[in-house]
C-alpha cells in the first residue's frame, strides 16, 4: 500500500525520533511511504488558522494538490497535521464555492486542487488496512507486562465526522493497538481530555497537563502512550516545568506509540531516540531488558 507521507514540521524538526520510529516500522506492515517534494507546513491548525482561516485553507489545499498530482492519499503521523488536512479536504468538496475560491489562489503558482485526496493518521490506516492481527504478526519482542496509560489528545479523534476514526468519548483504537504489540493498556480518569497546549494567556496549559499527569500517576503505570507531538511536548518539557513548580514528586515518561511498536519489532531504544528523552521510560525498558 502506497501513501504520500506527511511527517509535519513538529516531528521533522523537533521530534525526528518519531519520524524514525515510523519509517523503521511501517515496511514490515506492508505500508510504503512516498516522500513528495515541496510539502509545506500543514499548516498549523491552531495559531495559523486563528490568524487567517482562508489562508490556512489555501496552504492546506496546496499540500493536498501536491498529493493529488502524485495520485496518492496522505498518511500523517501528527494529530495536528491530520486535523488540518482532513478538515481542509472536508471543506474543499468538489463543485463547492470554497474550492473555487482556493483554486483562484492556487492558480497563481500553477496548481489546482480537484478535491480528491484523503488524509488519515497512520494509526487509523494500520487498523483499517493492516488490521490488529497484521500488526501483531510484525511483533518479535512483545511488550509483555508493560503497563501503559493512554493520552488520546484531541485532534486524532475530533471533530468526529471529519476525522472518522473512533468514538471520541469512548475510543479504543490506541488501547487495541497497544494490545496488538503485547502491552497492557491501563485505564485512567482523564484519558480523553485536552493537554491544554493550545490555550494562551492563562494557566490552563499547566492545569490541564497536571490533571492528566496526576490521573495517570494514580493508575500506576510504566509509561504514558501519546500519539501527537504537541501532547508529547506538554508531557515532556511541560512536565519538567510543572514538576518543579508544583513539587509533583513523581514522573510519568511519555512515549510515542510508534516508538513502542519499534521496540516490539525488535529495534533498539537508541534507533528510535528513546535514549534522548528528557524523561526516560526506564521501567519500561528494564521490563523489556533492551537497555
Amino acid at each position: 500500500m502506497e501513501f504520500a507521507f506527511f511527517p509535519g514540521c513538529m516531528i521533522q524538526v523537533r521530534h525526528p525520533q518519531m519520524e524514525a520510529a515510523v519509517r523503521k516500522t511501517v515496511g514490515t506492515l506492508g505500508i510504503e511511504l512516498v516522500d513528495l517534494d515541496g510539502l509545506g507546513c500543514c499548516p498549523d491548525p491552531v495559531f495559523f488558522k486563528s490568524l487567517h482561516k482562508e489562508n490556512w485553507l489555501t496552504l492546506a489545499a496546496r499540500n493536498l494538490a501536491i498529493a493529488e498530482q502524485a495520485g496518492l492519499d496522505f498518511v500523517t503521523i501528527c494529530s495536528g497535521c491530520t486535523e488540518t488536512l482532513a478538515e481542509a479536504a472536508h471543506l474543499l468538496n468538489p463543485g463547492g464555492e470554497l474550492l473555487e475560491r482556493v483554486n483562484a489562489q492556487l492558480a497563481g503558482i500553477g496548481l489546482e486542487y480537484r478535491g480528491t485526496v484523503d488524509a488519515r493518521h497512520l494509526i487509523t490506516v494500520m487498523r483499517d488496512e493492516v488490521g490488529y492481527d497484521g500488526v501483531r504478526a510484525s511483533v518479535t519482542q512483545p511488550l509483555d507486562g508493560v503497563r501503559i496509560a493512554v493520552h488520546y489528545g484531541c485532534h486524532l479523534l475530533k471533530p468526529r465526522d471529519i476525522m472518522r476514526v473512533d468514538d471520541p468519548d469512548h475510543p479504543t483504537i490506541f488501547e487495541d493497538m497497544l494490545r496488538a504489540i503485547g502491552a497492557e493498556p491501563v485505564d485512567h480518569d482523564e484519558r480523553v481530555i485536552c493537554c491544554g497546549k493550545s490555550c494562551r494567556d492563562c494557566d490552563l496549559p499547566e492545569t490541564m497537563t497536571r490533571t492528566i499527569l496526576e490521573s495517570i500517576h494514580a493508575a500506576d503505570v510504566d509509561a504514558m502512550g501519546v500519539i501527537c507531538p504537541s501532547c508529547f511536548d506538554s508531557f515532556d518539557t511541560g512536565q519538567l516545568l510543572i514538576a518543579r513548580k508544583y513539587d509533583l514528586g513523581f514522573a510519568v515518561p511519555p512515549v510515542y506509540y510508534f516508538q513502542l511498536l519499534a521496540l516490539a519489532q525488535g529495534l533498539k531504544p537508541a534507533e528510535v531516540g528513546l535514549d534522548k528523552h528528557k524523561l526516560a521510560p526506564k521501567v519500561l525498558l528494564e521490563k523489556m531488558t533492551v537497555t
Binding site: Q12, G40, I193
Partner: protein, 164 residues
C-alpha cells in the same frame, strides 16, 4: 449588561458572517451543550463558550475581540463542535473572532511571531544545526528543501469582514 435596554450591534454580526464559518453563531439557541465537556470551562471561570456565543449574538464587540477577550483560553479541542445540536461549531466561531483580532493586531505575544516564522520558512518549527545532527544520528534523510516564497504568493492580506 446593565439596566439599559439591550441594543444589538448588527454591524458586528454582519462582519462575523463574512469570516469563514463565523455565521454559525446565528443558529445558537443557548442550550449550553458546548459547556459541559469543555476543558477550558472546567478549569477557568473566565471561559464559557455559551456566553461567548451570546456575546457575539448581542454584537458586544469589545468583549469578544478586545484585548480582554477570553477566546485565547480555548483549547481548540473540538468537543463543542461535536456536542452542538445546532451545528453552530462554537470553536469555529471562536476562530472567526480570533481572525478579526488578528486583523486588528490584538493577539497574544508569540502567536504572530510563530505565524511569521511559518511564512518565512514554510515550517512552524525552527530548524537548527541540532536538527540536522539528530536526523543524521537517527538515519533519517536530510530535511527536504522548501521554497517559502510559493507559500507567500498564495496569501490574501485581508480577513473577510475587515473594517474599511
Amino acid at each position: 449588561m446593565g439596566d439599559d435596554p439591550v441594543k444589538i450591534n448588527h454591524r458586528f454580526r454582519e462582519q462575523m458572517g463574512l469570516v469563514l464559518e463565523g455565521d454559525g453563531v446565528n443558529y445558537c439557541y443557548q442550550c449550553g451543550a458546548c459547556v459541559g465537556d469543555c476543558p477550558s470551562a472546567r478549569f477557568s471561570d473566565e471561559f464559557n463558550p455559551r456566553l461567548i456565543m451570546l456575546t457575539v449574538l448581542y454584537g458586544m464587540e469589545e468583549a469578544v475581540v478586545g484585548p480582554e477577550s477570553p477566546v485565547w483560553q480555548c483549547s481548540n479541542c473540538f468537543t463543542c463542535f461535536d456536542r452542538c445540536p445546532q451545528d453552530v461549531k462554537p470553536i469555529e466561531v471562536i476562530i472567526a473572532l480570533k481572525n478579526l483580532m488578528g486583523e486588528r493586531g490584538v493577539v497574544p505575544k508569540g502567536v504572530d511571531r510563530m505565524v511569521d516564522g511559518l511564512l518565512n520558512t514554510g515550517r512552524s518549527a525552527v530548524v537548527t544545526t541540532a536538527t540536522h545532527r539528530r536526523r543524521q544520528e537517527l538515519g533519517l534523510p536530510p530535511l527536504p528543501e522548501l521554497d517559502a516564497s510559493q507559500l507567500q504568493r498564495l496569501l490574501v492580506d485581508d480577513v473577510p469582514g475587515k473594517e474599511d
